[in-house]
């Protein structure tokens, strides 16, 4: 999506990782890595974005992702305002854009948007004034680009040679923005073997996830992989797939210690959260020695700082 860039080639919006150039992704990961601190140490704090304003437009009152963006912006010295809004065009028609125009007239520099409807971030990006950046914090089933970057950063910390990796993404691939952003970023970074593992009805269309191998058996999907990325399963979905309760889903697709033993001995386990423990993942695995789930959260705020710095760098220098 060429519209994510300014005329001078710098990154303006972050709406999807699809076709983002590999050097840019690597630079973002490198800079995020420089902002990571071990648990218990103080996070880096600066005034790099002092005088900038970031608005969080979320459809729900408070979520982990909102707090992660909020802290990323505050630790760079930006002012942050939180709004609960319904941006979906089917709900409010043109009033979506009126809300956005209002925020840009209030000199908001970056809009962080989470919306359940496809296309909202791109529509907003296509309409805002040139000085405003749009960052997707989750768009329908389509994209969750900062999640993709934090997932890549987490893998990189444990398995830096992407061209030698086997990664399995497991769960409701069909409806998952996390899976799609992971597919984009791992594809660009040259992951050797990317697998998607799901019950047949939760598989994406054949035209999607090209180059990935498809497994309806969790056992075959996990065989020898370096990285296991679990996804959250919505309870509503389980009914649709004739696995009407958590127990039955867990029996077929839950990540148990036994199944994890099929992966490589040093395989890591990831999950975007919130987790359904005992449904898609056993608590022993979620809290076990191979879990890097909390690393993902820590990396998330570093990635969001790096992205805010990247898109607002011109402003900070002004």
């Amino acid at each position: 999506m060429s519209t994510q860039f300014r005329a001078d080639g710098s990154l303006r919006h972050l709406i999807t990782l699809e076709s983002l150039p590999r050097p840019l992704i690597e630079r973002l990961l490198e800079r995020a890595q420089g902002l990571v601190r071990p648990l218990g140490e103080r996070p880096p704090v600066s005034r790099a974005l002092a005088g900038c304003t970031v608005a969080n437009l979320f459809t729900e009152p408070s979520t982990r992702t909102r707090v992660s963006f909020e802290l990323a912006a505050k630790r760079l010295g930006a002012d942050v305002v939180n709004l609960e809004v319904q941006l979906s065009s089917r709900v409010k028609g043109e009033s979506m854009l009126d809300t956005v125009y209002t925020l840009q007239s209030l000199h908001v520099d970056a809009l962080v948007i989470r919306d359940a409807e496809t296309g909202v971030p791109a529509t907003v990006a296509a309409n805002v004034a040139p000085h405003v950046s749009v960052l997707s914090a989750g768009e329908a089933h389509v994209a969750h680009p900062t999640q993709g970057l934090l997932d890549a950063l987490t893998v990189r910390q444990y398995k830096p040679r992407f061209d030698r990796l086997s990664i399995a993404i497991v769960g409701d691939i069909r409806h998952s923005r996390v899976a799609r952003s992971a597919f984009h970023v791992f594809g660009t970074l040259g992951v050797a073997d990317l697998r998607i593992v799901a019950p047949p009805v939760l598989m994406p269309e054949p035209t999607e996830f090209s180059g990935c191998t498809r497994h309806t058996s969790l056992e075959s999907g996990l065989d020898g992989v370096d990285v296991v990325m679990m996804l959250r399963i919505q309870k509503e979905r389980m009914a649709q797939i004739d696995l009407p309760d958590g127990d039955r889903y867990y029996a077929s697709y839950g990540l148990t210690p036994e199944r994890l033993a099929l992966a490589r001995p040093d395989a890591i386990v990831m999950h975007p959260q919130p987790m359904n423990r005992g449904i898609e993942i056993a608590s022993e695995v979620a809290d076990g020695p191979r879990s890097v789930i909390r690393d993902q959260v820590r990396n998330g705020v570093a990635v969001r700082m790096a992205v805010l710095n990247e898109v607002l760098a011109w402003r900070a220098g002004a």
Copy 2:
């Protein structure tokens, strides 16, 4: 309302623009003008109110006006807390004042209050300790003083000679705090010709809006004016006036390009937002070359900074 002033003559509260002296209004507009920046430039930021605390008491979770006040306060260095409260006395009796007393005991310096019931800001102002200022962010149908000031600032930027202007306020005048604050400020600034345009049942009582001409025909109301101020129509109201749907209201009172052609060729179009596009205003007009609606939003944060500076100046100097 003399109680808006301190014994030394300085402005303490801003609850209504009625009978506010012209020199004070002009000074506030002048200072706000100095805080306006073009879209895309950085807004002015200072530490003038560092150590001060502003509390936003709004009855709804998030609104444009709340964010405008929040950013105005933060860009002056104040701490801001947001509370969702029902202050209306009929709902909670004396507990309204207990909430206010709590905030003043927490060393809050300014209370920004939006409430649907008449008299709440004045009641609070009459009861708070001498160091606390009350700023109305919208009181029932009665007053919205910072909206009045931003409307005046917007007109002033395009049409600085108020004594030569014709201004038409169009829509549900009867129930509009925006119209009443505009009436007050434009009267004080000496606007030559102020018109109110509405269906008969949405006209205010004959004792109100003295000196304004009244038009039930939009066409006659717009004839030759310099400024068109549109108001939002509530859908509930349309049923009451035998114009039960948006289409029929639009047919009689919607601002179309054709009707706008009745105004002067350089007339500007204003709206306090949120807009009902296709009901009170055509999208072509709202987004057209004569619309200054986004200027109003930008001016709003500047006006609120000027007002906060004015009422808290004694504190900032302490």
Copy 3:
């Protein structure tokens, strides 16, 4: 609860005042006193906790206690994020801890928790990483430690000799976390005569409040006391105790001027708020010359600053 302390003896969590050493309580009160300013003066502001992050996890959108903690943290220079969460384990199972782990991975230094279920703050404290502090902002009927400290600070300002005091706590003792934290702190500070006054069914179990005298008559309970601490009565409770409406409760247990006359002439009146005026307390008393209810609020933010400083001092020095 020894787990409130670090290995070096410093205070890490504040979950209960029970068995907190008297020198620590006195130091906290002394430091809080140094942060108290008269109404109308500016509160002390510092950058002592700059770079620290405080998360408010409350089950309701906005409350006095949340704002008090938020301002305490901001006036020390900390970043603050507000989350509305249901932490109760019966609601969400292990997801409670996942929310907490997420916040600690985001480098949150202190979690301020209000929850209606017993044991939540202790469970969280037992599971967070060593660098995270947990501060209870109200736990079921069990404890409200910062309320206890602010109550002690308020008494100390008027009646510094605890060993000579008679204090009556009046109302729904059985279900009150305020009463329990007051019992703990006044016990430790050596209050000579601590009385609990309640209708029989609102009395706590005989094993609780040991050493307190029990009064089911308000008149005998108030006789000659120096301090009257009123509690809020929930309307649901009144039905349970055959006092089905506020008028009848007031007739037996409301603090009227006549009843207050039974206390010492210089007795002070306290209430944790929000008040049911005309039910547990007469407005003349709540707003009268012996009421120190607003002092309690002002002291609350000072106490919370002192507590945040105490538990995060190691971090601030880092």
